[in-house]
C-alpha cells in the first residue's frame, strides 16, 4: 500500500537556519511520532518505530539515511526502510524536503511517499492508510515546529507551540471541492464580502496525492483504500481536540499519537476553513 | 498456566491451558473433539459454532480460559441416547449439506435460532443464519431444513400439504 503526501509550510527563520536544523538527524527523527533513534553514523541511522492505533500495534526496526543532500538547492531526501519486529511486513518512506527563501522566512515543501507491506497492508479497511496519513501529517507538523525554532533550540514539547502564519494554498489538487454545495457551508461569510483575515494556525497545508500509478485506483478497481486521507472533522470535535492539546488531562496516555492527531486535525480544519472562506469570498 | 474446568458434551474436563489457547483448539487439539472445524480467522464463517452455556458462540473467537466453568455442547453432543437431534435429521432429510464443512456450525446456529423463535419465517431463518457461511448449498435447502427441524421440534411433524 503506497501513499503520497505533500506538505507545505513557512517558518519564520532564515533558510540557512532552517537548513542547519534539517540536517540534524537527532532532532529531525523524533518529529516522527513513535520513532526512537538507536544509532547515528554519519548520514545513516538506525531506529525503531512503533505504530499504534487502538489495540493495533506494529513495531518496525530499520534504518534511514540522508540522500541527495543538495546544500545549494537546500533540498534533501531521507530514505527509511524498516521491517516489522514481529511479523514479515515492511515499511518504507522517502521524504524529500525543499527549502525556499521567502524574505526573512523560509517556505518548506515536504514530499513524502510511504509504503507498507505485510499483514497491516492486507485489509480492505486500510488500517495503514488510516495511520500513515496521520503519521506523516504529524511529522510535517513537528518538522514545522522544529524548523521554526532554528538551530540550538530544544525540540518542541508538543504542538501547543503554534506559530501564527498564513496558511498556504495546497500545492496539489485540493481534496475538497470548491463547488457550491460545499461552499454554501462556509460559516457566516457574506457572499462577495472580503475574506476574513486568516486565523492563527499551524502553517501546514495538507494535500494527499495519489501515488504514481494510483491515479486510476487500484488498477482499475474503483474503491481505493490507499492514497487518501482525512483532513478535517467537525468543529465540535476540533474544540475537543483543542482542549486535549491544551493539556486537560483527558488524554494522559497515548500522548504521541492522539495528541498528534488532534493537532493535525485542528490544523486541517483551520486550513480548510480558511480555504473555504477564500472560496466563499471570491 | 491457568487451570480451567469445562464441561464438553457432558464430560467434565480439567485442563491447564495457555491463556491464548482458543476454545476451538482446546476442543480439537486437546480434547479430540474434531467435530467442530475451523473455517476462518475473523469470526465470519461460523463453522466453529458451538453452544456455550446454552447459546451459540463462535469457538474460534473465544479463549479457552473464557470458557472456564462453562458448559459447551458441540455437534458431537447434540444427539441424545443414540438418537439424532431433529435438526440433524432435518438437514439430512432436506439435503441441506454437500461438503458438510459448515454443517456442524450451521446446525448449532439453527438450533440456537429456534430458541428465540420456534416457528421462524424463511426470512427470520436467513437472518438468523447470517453468521454461518456455506459455499455449497446456496442455502435454499438449509432454510427448508431449519423449517422442518422447527416443525419436528414443536411436535407438529412436517406439514405435508
Amino acid at each position: 500500500m503506497a501513499m503520497r503526501f505533500e506538505h507545505e509550510f513557512t517558518v519564520p527563520v532564515s533558510i540557512e537556519q532552517a537548513w542547519a536544523v534539517l540536517l540534524d538527524v537527532e532532532r529531525v527523527a523524533p518529529c516522527l511520532p513513535g520513532a526512537t533513534l538507536d544509532t547515528v553514523e554519519g548520514d545513516s541511522f538506525t531506529g525503531r518505530m512503533k505504530v499504534k492505533v487502538g489495540p493495533i500495534t506494529v513495531t518496525y526496526r530499520g534504518d534511514a539515511s540522508f540522500q541527495d543532500v543538495d546544500k545549494d538547492a537546500h533540498s534533501l531526501t531521507i530514505k527509511a526502510a524498516g521491517k516489522e519486529a514481529r511479523g514479515s511486513g515492511t515499511a518504507g518512506a522517502t521524504v524529500t524536503a525543499r527549502l525556499h527563501p521567502e524574505g526573512s522566512a523560509t517556505r518548506v515543501t515536504v514530499d513524502t511517499t510511504f509504503n507498507v507491506t505485510g499483514r497491516p497492508a492486507q485489509f480492505g479497511r486500510g488500517v495503514m492508510a488510516e495511520v500513515g496519513a496521520k503519521l506523516i501529517d504529524r511529522f510535517a507538523a513537528n518538522l514545522s515546529d522544529l524548523l521554526g525554532e532554528g538551530p540550538g533550540a530544544e525540540p518542541a514539547a508538543g504542538p501547543a507551540n503554534v506559530t501564527p502564519l498564513t496558511p498556504v494554498v495546497p500545492a496539489g489538487p485540493a481534496q475538497e471541492p470548491s463547488g457550491s454545495r460545499e461552499g454554501s457551508l462556509v460559516p457566516s461569510t457574506g457572499d462577495g464580502g472580503p475574506p476574513e483575515p486568516p486565523e492563527p494556525s499551524r502553517p501546514v497545508s495538507l494535500t494527499v496525492v495519489p501515488a504514481p500509478g494510483d491515479a486510476e485506483e487500484i488498477r482499475g478497481q474503483d474503491p481505493h483504500p490507499g492514497g487518501t486521507a482525512r483532513t478535517s472533522r467537525t468543529p465540535e470535535e476540533e474544540a475537543l481536540d483543542l482542549l486535549e492539546v491544551a493539556g486537560i488531562p483527558l488524554l494522559k496516555r497515548v500522548a504521541p499519537l492522539v495528541a498528534a492527531v488532534a493537532a493535525v486535525t485542528l490544523l486541517a480544519w483551520l486550513v480548510r476553513r480558511a480555504l473555504l472562506r477564500r472560496t466563499g469570498g471570491s | 498456566m491457568p487451570r480451567i474446568t469445562v464441561t464438553v458434551d457432558g464430560i467434565v474436563y480439567e485442563e491447564e491451558v495457555e491463556p491464548r489457547l482458543l476454545l476451538v483448539h482446546l476442543l480439537r487439539d486437546r480434547l479430540g473433539k474434531t467435530g467442530t472445524p475451523v473455517g476462518c480467522d475473523t469470526g465470519n464463517c461460523g463453522a466453529c459454532t458451538v453452544m456455550l452455556d446454552g447459546r451459540s458462540a463462535k469457538s474460534c473467537s473465544v479463549l479457552a480460559v473464557q470458557a472456564d466453568g462453562s458448559d459447551v455442547v458441540t455437534i458431537e453432543g447434540l444427539a441424545r441416547n443414540g438418537r439424532l437431534h431433529p435438526m440433524q435429521e432435518a438437514f439430512h432429510a432436506e439435503h441441506a449439506l454437500q461438503c458438510g464443512y459448515c454443517t456442524p456450525g450451521m446446525i448449532m446456529a439453527a438450533v440456537d435460532l429456534l430458541k428465540d423463535d420456534p416457528d421462524p419465517s424463511d426470512e427470520a431463518i436467513r437472518r438468523g443464519l447470517e453468521g454461518n457461511l456455506c459455499r455449497c448449498t446456496g442455502y435454499c435447502n438449509i432454510v427448508r431444513a431449519v423449517r422442518r427441524g422447527a416443525q419436528e421440534m414443536s411436535g407438529e411433524g412436517v406439514r405435508t400439504s
Binding site: 514481529r86 505485510g118 475538497e176 | 487439539d29 458431537e76 439424532l84 443464519l129 457461511l133
Partner: protein
Amino acid sequence: MTEQIDAGMVARRIAESDRLGSPDPGREIGRARRRKEDARLITGRTLWTDDIQLPGMLYVAFLRSPMAHARITRVDTSAARNQPGVAAVYTGRDFAAEQGSLPCAWPVTEDIVIPDHPPMAVEEVRYVGEAVACVVATDRYKAADALEAIEVDYEPLEPVLDMTEALAEGSPKVHEAGNRSFTWKFSGGDVEAAFRDAPVVIERTYVQQRLIPTAMEPRAVVATTDGTAFTLYSSTQIPHVLRVMLALTTGIPEHLLRVVAPDVGGGFGSKLQVTAEEVLCLLLTRRLGKPVKWTESRSEGNLTVHHGRDQLQRITLAAERDGRIRGMRADLLADMGAYLMLVTPGIPILGAFMYNGIYKMDAYDFTCTGVFTTKMPTDAYRGAGRPEATFAIERAVDELAHELGMDPVEVRRRNWITHQEFPYTTIAGLTYDSGNYEAATDRALALFGYDKLRAEQADRRDRRDPVQLGIGVSTYTEMCGLAPSRVLGSLSYGAGGWEHATVRLLPTGKVEVVTGTSPHGQGHETAWSQIAADAMGVPFEDVAVLHGDTTVAPKGMDTYGSRSLVIGGVAVLQACEKVKDRARKLAAHMLEASPDDIEFSGGTFSVRGTSAGKTIQELALAAFAAHDLPEGFEPRLDADVTFDPQNFSFPHGTHLCAVEVDTETGMTKIRSYVAVDDVGNVVNPLIVEGQVHGGIAQGIGQALFEEAVYDSEGNLLTTTMTDYLIPSAADLPEFVTDRTETPATSNALGVKGVGEAGTIAATPAVVNAVVDALRPYGVRDVRMPCSPERIWRAISESGGAAAGWAGPTEAEGGER
C-alpha cells in the same frame, strides 16, 4: 403462459414430488435418495485432513512473502531455530536441490513460456504470499511463534499488476523470459466475411474479475513415512493426479506413495492443484522422519489458494438487423498470475469452444494471450473458462437485443439451435449431441412470470420509480465431462480424460464400488450406489462406494469439470454390466441353461419362461465357494472398467433473474430467480437440485459480491472474509428450479453433468438483469461485482442522477 400460477408454488411442488420418490418405483436411478454421506457429516464424525493426529506429529507453518516482487537477499533462521518446540526451520535454498518445480500439465502452445516454480522461493518472490521459509514445531502455536523470528531481507522489484501494461514495451518483467506466456488462436468459418458490411456490430469489453474460490475447508496436508513408503493426506480433489505429479516432482517412486483425500470440504476447482505445501510436506517428512501437518488459515488461504477467472475480454459480434448473428470475435487477455500451475494456461482455452454458446453463426475467431503478473496464479474455479465464455456471449446477445430494440428472449430464439437440429456441429467444432432450448426456455418463462414482470418494469420506468426492476436472461450450454482423451491430447493437455471403476460382488451379496472420482460434497457415495443398485438388482443399502485413497482406489482421474457422473458414473454402470455378464454365465451353469436364455430382473437371474432362478446373492456365495463353476471360470464376480468418453456432454438451461435496483443507493436486491436446467437424465434429483442451488449462489457471488483486489503495490486487500464477501443466507433469495430432461446420447446413462451449470448460467443472468434495470439511465454495462457504488456511479456517469439526489460532482469524482 401460465403467469397466474405462483412460480414459487410450482417449483415447490416439483421439488416435493422429487422428494416423494422416483416416478418409477423400484428403480433407484431418478429417486431422491437421502445421502449416505450425511451421517458422519451431521454428527461431527467426519475425518477432515486437519483432524488427523499421528504419533510424534510435527506442525508446519510457512513464512510468506510480504512483497509482490522482490529479490531475496538474506534469510536468517537462526533465532527461529532456537525457539522452544522448534524442530527445524528451512528456507527455499535448503530444499533447492530436491524441491523441483511445481508442475504445469497443460502447455497449450509449442512456444509457451513455463517458468520454473520452486515450491519455496529461492532467489526471487513474485507474489504476496509466496512461501519463503518454513518452521516445523511441536504444535501449531509454537510454529506460528517461530515464524516471527525468521529474518528475511528483500530487495524490492517492480510489481507487475496490469495485464495490458505488462505486455507493453518496457514493462518490468515477472520472469526473465517476459510477461507473455502464450498466445493461442482458434477460428472457424470466414470471420472477415461475417463482419464485412455487417449491419450491426456490437463491441464490448468485459472484465472477469479475479475471484477467490473459498471452499469452506481451508487446505490441509498431513505427510508421513515409515522410512520406505510415504502417505500424503491432503484436502484435494485429485488424489490420483496428485500422486503421479508428486512422484514426478519429488522423485518419490509412485509405487511407494499413497495419496489419500479424506473428507474434503469443498473444492470448486481450488483443490484441483499440486501445491507447494503438498510437495514440501512430503519433503519435510522425508527429511525429518516424522509425520508433519500443515493447515492453512483463511487469511493465508486467500493469499495462496489459486485464484480464479481474471480475464479481460474484448467481444465483437456481427449481426443482421433481424437479429441473426453472423459472426463473433473473442480477444482475451488472461492473467496467469506469477506462475503456471497445474492447468493455469488451459483455463481460458476451455472456454474457447463455448463463446458461440447455443447459437448458430457463420464464423468465429478466438485469441487468448496468457500474461504473467506478480499475483497469485490463477487456475480452475467452478466452470473454468466456460463461465467467462457464457458471460461474454450472453451479455453481448443482450446488448444486441437492446441495439435492435428486440426482446432478449426473442433474439435468442432467432439464433439458437432448434431441437430438431441436433446433433449439431457448432462453429467452434463441437458436436452438441442433444438439447431442447425451446422447452427449457418456455418452462422458465412460465415459472418466472416473464410477461408480468416486463409489465411491472414498464410501469416502474414510467413512474420513474427510484427502485427499478431489471430482468436478466441467460441461456447457456457448457461442455461437461472432461473429457475424451484424444480431444485433451489435441489440446496438449498432459493426461487423459478417462475414468475408472471397479465393482465387486462380495460373498454375502453386498456390493463394493470403487471409483476413481474423488467427491468433496457431490454425493458420489449415494449416486453411485443408486446406479449400482439398479444395475445389480441389490438394495441401495447393500452398496458401498470406496474412493479417495490411491491404495483403495488405485486408478482414477478424479473430480472436476462436471465429469464425475458423465464418465465415472458411466464407468460404474459398465463395470456392473461386466460383473453381471459373469454372473449370468455362472447362473446359466448352475441352472443348466444357456446364457442366452438367462434373464435378469430384480436381482435374480432366471431361465426365460421358467420359475427357476438364482439371486445375485446366491451367485455371489457360489462364486466365493467356487465348488462348482463353469469350465475356465475364474472364481470371482468383479470387474474393472476404464471408460473414455467419445464426446463431451452438453447440459443447458435457461436462467431468469429479476432484480430490484435502488437507484438512490445503487443497491441490488434479487427479487426472483428461476432456473430450468437440462442435465439429461437424473440419477438423484435431490443432489442435482443442490448442485444447481450452490452453483447459482456462486454465480451470484461473482455478479454482485466477490472480488480479489490487489492494491497498486501488489498487496492483496481481500485476505479475510470481512473483505472478500461471499454471500450468506441473508443475502440470497430462494431459487426456483425445475428441469427439462433431454437425455445425452453420448453415454449409457443419458446424463450430462451438473456441477458447474448453475455458476455458468447465473452470473450473466444477474448482470443482464442489473444492466436491464439501468437501461433507462443509458447504462450499458456495470463491471463485476456490481457493487452498489459501481451501480451508483454508472447511473451518475450516464447523466441520470436518480430521483433528485446528486451524483458525484466532478471534484468528488476526482477523489477516487
